[in-house]
Subunit: 544 residues, 2 copies
C-alpha cells in the first residue's frame, strides 16, 4: 500500500485547528514512523494507537468533536468524548500505566497479548515524535554543554571526541559533533550499518583501517576542521590503541548498546557472525564475554580520564554491567544528565519543538528567523538553529527542535501565535520530548542520582500533567514504560496548537510558563542551586 502521510494545506477536516492539528500530529508520527502498517512509531513497540479500529475511531472523534469537549484515550484506545469547556484540553491520554507491583515486563505482555494495553514510548502514543531531529539536538546539546563546562567553548572547534555505536541514538553523534565543528571518531562493529549511516549523511568517513581513521582525526584536530569518522571495529580495541599511542581525545564517552549484553554489545575477539552463533548455542557464554569486554571498556575510559580526557557515561548501562562482572570502578564516571543536562533543566531549558501543521517549510524558515529576533544573544540557540537549517533534512511535517528555557518558550509561542493571527504563517503545534525537567521520573537515566534521592518519585510528572491540563494545553499525556521498560519510568507529554486566536494566546502563555516553571521548581526542590536561583529570579514558587 501507499505510505501514510499527514494531511497538508490549510483546509480543515475537523471543526477547529485545535483538533485538526492534533489529527495531523497523529498522522505525522505514522508518516515518520518505523512501521506505520503496524501503527509502530519506534522501538518496535511504541505505538500511535492500540489497533486500527482505535486509530479510525480516534480520527472520527477528532473530526467530529466540538471545541468544548475532550477525547479520552486509554492505552491507545479512545474511550469517550466528554463535554468540558473551551479552555480545557481536547485530548487526554494515559498509556501503559500499571500499579507498581504489577509494572513488570511479564504482566505488560500478558495484557498486550489480550490487546488490553499499548505502550506509547515517550512521544509515539501521544503523537509528538517528529523523527531524527529530536535525538540529534539532544546529542548536540549534550556535547555542546560538555564543551562549555570543560573548555568554556561554545562549539567543539579543535576538539576531538571519541565515542562509539551508530545505533538509533548513537548515529546522531558523528553528525552532532561535526555540526559543532569538532572531530568525531565513532567505531561501530557493524560494517553494513556504518555504510548505511554514511549514505544518510550522518558520518563522513567510514574505513576498516584504524590507522587511517586515527590519522583522519588527528589531522582534522590539528587543523581545527570539523570531521566525522567511523572505524568499522570494536570500541575497546580503538580506545586501547589510542591509549597505547598516547593519543588522548578531549572527550570520551560511549553509546554502544551496553544495556543488553546478549543482543546488543559486541565482545572483543568474536566476529559478528561468531557472536550470532554463540547467541543461540551458548547465550550465557556470550553474556560473560560481553561483560568481560565491558570491564575493559570501562577501564579504558577511566584511563583516558586519568590521561586528561573528559569522560562521561551516556546512559547506556555500561557501568552497571561492568560492576555486575566484578568491576564497580566505573561509577567514578559522571552520568551525562548529572554533568550537563541538570544545569540546563534548572533553567527550564529542554527539548522543545514546533511543527508546521500546514506542511509549509516556509513556516519553519519564518520561525527560525523569529528565534534570531527573539533570542539574538542566546548563542546556543543561534548556533543550533543555524546548523539545523543547513544540515537537518526534512522528515514528515516540517519541524524544528530548539532547547528553549523558562520564559523563552512562552515568548516563542506567543510570537508565533501572533504571526499565525497575521496570516504570516499557518497554524503551528508546540510540543516537547518527555525528557524535560519536570516531566519525567526515570531513575536509571533522567533522574539518576538526584541530590535529594527522589529519583523515583513520580508525583512530579503526574503533577506536570495535571498542571498542563489545568492550564489549557490541547493534549496532555501520562506515559509509563511498557515492554522491557515496564516499571522503569513515568513521564508526561504536552502539545499546544497555535491557531492565532486571542484565547489561544492566553492558553499558550499559561501552559508554557507552567510547563517550564514546574521543571525549575522540581530541580529547586531537589536541591540544585541554579534552579533555586532561577526560581527566585522568575518569581516561581509560592510567592511568599
Amino acid at each position: 500500500g501507499e505510505r501514510l502521510k499527514a494531511q497538508r494545506g490549510l483546509e480543515l477536516r475537523a471543526k477547529s485547528w485545535r483538533t485538526e492539528g492534533l489529527l495531523r500530529m497523529l498522522e505525522n508520527v505514522l508518516e515518520v514512523g518505523e512501521k506505520p502498517e503496524e501503527l509502530v512509531v519506534y522501538a518496535a513497540l511504541g505505538k500511535a494507537a492500540r489497533d486500527w479500529d482505535s486509530y479510525f475511531k480516534i480520527r472520527r472523534a477528532l473530526t467530529g468533536m466540538d471545541t468544548d469537549s475532550t477525547l479520552m484515550i486509554q492505552s491507545g484506545k479512545p474511550i469517550g468524548v466528554f463535554p468540558t469547556h473551551s479552555g480545557a484540553p481536547r485530548v487526554l491520554i494515559a498509556n501503559s500505566n500499571l500499579v507498581g507491583r504489577w509494572a513488570t515486563t511479564e504482566h505488560f505482555y500478558e495484557l498486550y497479548d489480550k490487546n488490553k494495553i499499548a505502550w506509547g514510548g515517550l512521544t509515539a502514543g501521544c503523537w509528538q515524535y517528529i523523527g531524527f531531529q529530536g535525538v540529534l539536538q539532544g546529542t548536540f546539546e549534550t556535547f555542546a554543554a560538555a564543551s562549555k563546562v570543560h573548555f568554556d567553548q561554545d562549539d567543539l572547534k579543535g576538539r576531538f571526541v571519541f565515542t562509539a555505536g551508530l545505533g538509533g541514538m548513537g548515529s546522531a553523534q558523528p553528525l552532532a559533533i561535526w555540526m559543532l565543528g569538532g572531530v568525531a571518531l565513532v567505531p561501530e562493529v557493524n560494517g553494513e550499518r556504518a555504510l548505511e549511516r554514511q549514505a544518510h549523511g550522518l558520518v563522513q568517513h567510514v574505513t576498516h583501517d584504524l590507522d587511517e581513521a586515527i590519522a583522519l582525526c588527528t589531522d582534522a584536530r590539528a587543523k581545527g576542521e570539523a570531521r566525522s569518522v567511523t572505524w568499522v571495529g570494536n570500541a575497546v580495541e580503538a580506545l586501547e590503541t589510542l591509549l597505547e599511542r598516547g593519543i588522548i581525545p578531549d572527550i570520551v564517552t560511549d553509546m554502544t548498546s551496553a544495556h543488553d549484553a546478549l543482543h546488543g554489545y559486541q565482545p572483543l575477539g568474536l566476529t559478528t557472525a561468531q557472536a550470532a552463533q554463540m547467541r543461540s548455542d551458548d547465550p550465557d557464554k556470550l553474556i560473560g564475554l560481553a561483560r568481560e569486554t565491558m570491564v575493559r571498556h570501562v577501564k579504558a575510559l577511566l584511563n583516558m580520564e586519568d590521561a586528561g580526557a573528559v569522560a562521561f557515561d551516556y546512559g547506556n548501562n555500561l557501568r552497571s554491567q561492568a560492576r555486575d562482572h566484578g568491576f564497580p570502578g566505573g561509577f567514578r564516571l559522571k552520568v551525562f544528565t548529572e554533568a550537563y543536562l541538570r544545569p540546563l533543566f534548572s533553567r527550564g531549558i529542554g527539548p522543545f519543538r514546533w511543527v508546521a501543521l500546514s506542511g509549509d517549510s516556509a513556516d519553519i524558515a519564518y520561525l527560525d528567523a523569529l528565534t534570531q529576533e527573539l533570542f539574538p544573544d542566546d548563542a546556543p540557540v543561534q548556533r543550533w538553529v543555524r546548523a539545523a537549517r543547513l544540515h537537518v533534512p526534512e522528515q514528515g511535517l516540517p519541524a524544528r527542535t530548539a532547547w528553549l528555557g523558562h520564559t523563552q518558550r512562552t515568548r516563542m509561542a506567543l510570537a508565533a501565535n501572533a504571526a499565525v493571527a497575521r496570516g504570516d504563517i499557518g497554524p503551528i503545534a508546540f510540543t516537547r520530548d518527555h525528557l524535560d525537567a519536570g516531566s519525567m521520573a526515570h531513575p536509571n537515566i533522567m533522574t539518576e542520582n538526584l541530590k535529594d534521592g527522589t529519583d523515583a518519585v513520580s508525583d512530579w510528572p503526574l503533577l506536570n500533567a495535571l498542571l498542563n491540563t489545568a492550564s489549557g494545553a490541547d493534549l496532555v499525556a501520562i506515559h509509563s514504560g511498557g515492554g522491557g521498560y515496564a516499571g522503569y519510568m513515568t513521564s508526561a507529554g504536552v502539545t499546544c496548537i497555535a491557531d492565532g486566536s486571542e484565547e489561544t494566546a492566553g492558553r499558550l502563555e499559561r501552559v508554557m510558563n507552567a510547563d517550564t516553571g514546574w521543571g525549575v521548581l522540581r530541580y529547586a526542590d531537589a536541591g540544585y542551586g541554579e534552579a533555586e536561583e532561577t526560581k527566585k529570579r522568575e518569581g516561581l514558587g509560592l510567592g511568599f
Copy 2:
C-alpha cells in the same frame, strides 16, 4: 494543646469560597483524624500534609491565592502557585507516587525518613475524609446489596448475619446490619475492644456466653427484630458451634484482620496474652497456628454455604492465607466487590458525600430532605438517609455520605448549588471516597479479578484525575499506596465547592457527569453488561 477544629461560620479568610472551602476541608480531616498533632488522619501514616511547615504554607497559600491560580502539592508539600484560570482547579495534589520498580515499602520508608514523601491514604492527603460515616455506609451498602441480590429484599429484616472482627473497618458491621433491620452476630476476641465499641453505640449486646449470644440472635431473627450481638471469642469457634447445632445464618462473612497472620489474626486455642507471648518468642509458630485456624475458618464458611447460607469474602485476604497453608478451596467464595459492588459501579453508583462548610447541621438536614425530593423512588438512597439521620453521630463539619450514581450526583450538586444561591444553605463541598468506579486500580480488593484482567491498569484513575481537572473540579488528587501499601494501588480523588454561583453550576455539572460517566465507561470497557447498558442509555462514550 487544644484540639484542632475546622473554621465554622460564613466569614471568609480566603479570597473565595472555593479556596476557603478547601482550607476548611483540610482543617476538618485533622479535626476528625486520629493524631492531629502529628498531622495523621488515619492508618498511622495517612497524613494531611508533609509536615507542619508544609501545613502552614498550604494555609497561607490557600488564604492568599487569587481565584484564577492553582496551588500544586507534592506528597503533602506545597511547591508552587501557578496562574491558571477560573475554570481550572484551585488545588492539584499527587501523593506517594513512585515509579513501578521502586514502589516498595522499603523505598517508601527510605524517602519517608528523609521527609521527601508522604502517604495520603485515600482521603487523608487530599482532605476528603469525614470520619466513620464513610466506612459505615460502605458496609451498609454492601450488606444491602447482598440482601437485594440474594433475597430480593431492600433491608435485612428477619435476616441473620454472621461476621467477625470489631476493628477500624469491622466495627461498622453490627451497626450497619442493625440499621438495615437485621440481626448481627459479630465475635471479637478482644473483650476490651468489644466493650469500647458498645460504649460508642456500635453494638448493642456484648457477652462472654456463646449460648446467650446465639439465643439473642435466633430470638431476634424469629421476631423479625433488629439486634446486634458480640460474643467475646474466636470467630471459628462460633462458626463451628453454629454448624454443629444446625443453626445456619442467612449471610456469613468475615472482617477479622486475616491479612496479617502475625499481628492481626487470633488463632484458636490461645488466649490473647499467650498469643502476645508467642509473637515475641516464636513468631513463625504463631503464624503457622494462625493460618491453621484460617483454614478451619474458610472450611466453616464453605460448610455454611453448603448448608444454604450466602457466603462471601470481604477483602481481608483470608482465602489467600488459607491457600498458602495448603487449602486453596476458599476461592470458591465470591469476593464482595465482584458480587455486590460491581453492579453498582456499573451504574456509576459509589461513595459520594457532601460537607456543610459553614458547620451548620441544618444544611445537612436541608440536603437530606433534598435527596427525598430528588430521588423519591430510589429506595436504597431513602433507606440510607433515613437511617443515617437517626443513627449517625456528627463528627467534624456536618456531612452526609450517599451512594448516588451517574446523573444523580449531578442533579444533587446542582440543586444544592441553587439552594446556596438562594441563601437557603451555606456553601457545600461535594466529594467522594477514592473507592469509586473509575477512580481506583487496586488489584487485591477493588479491581480484583476483573472480567478482562485489567485489574492493575492504572490508566483509568490517572485519566479520571485528568478529566476532572479538565472539567474544572476545585481539587484533584492522584494517590498511590505508601508504607505497607506501596506498589499496591493508585487512585484519584476529587472535590468541588458549591458556592452558589452560575459559573460553579457549570463546573459542577461537568465534573459530576465526567466523574461518574468515566466510572461507567471503565466497567463497560472491562466487559460488564450492566455498565454497557448504562453507557448506551446515558449516551456515554464516543457518541458514534
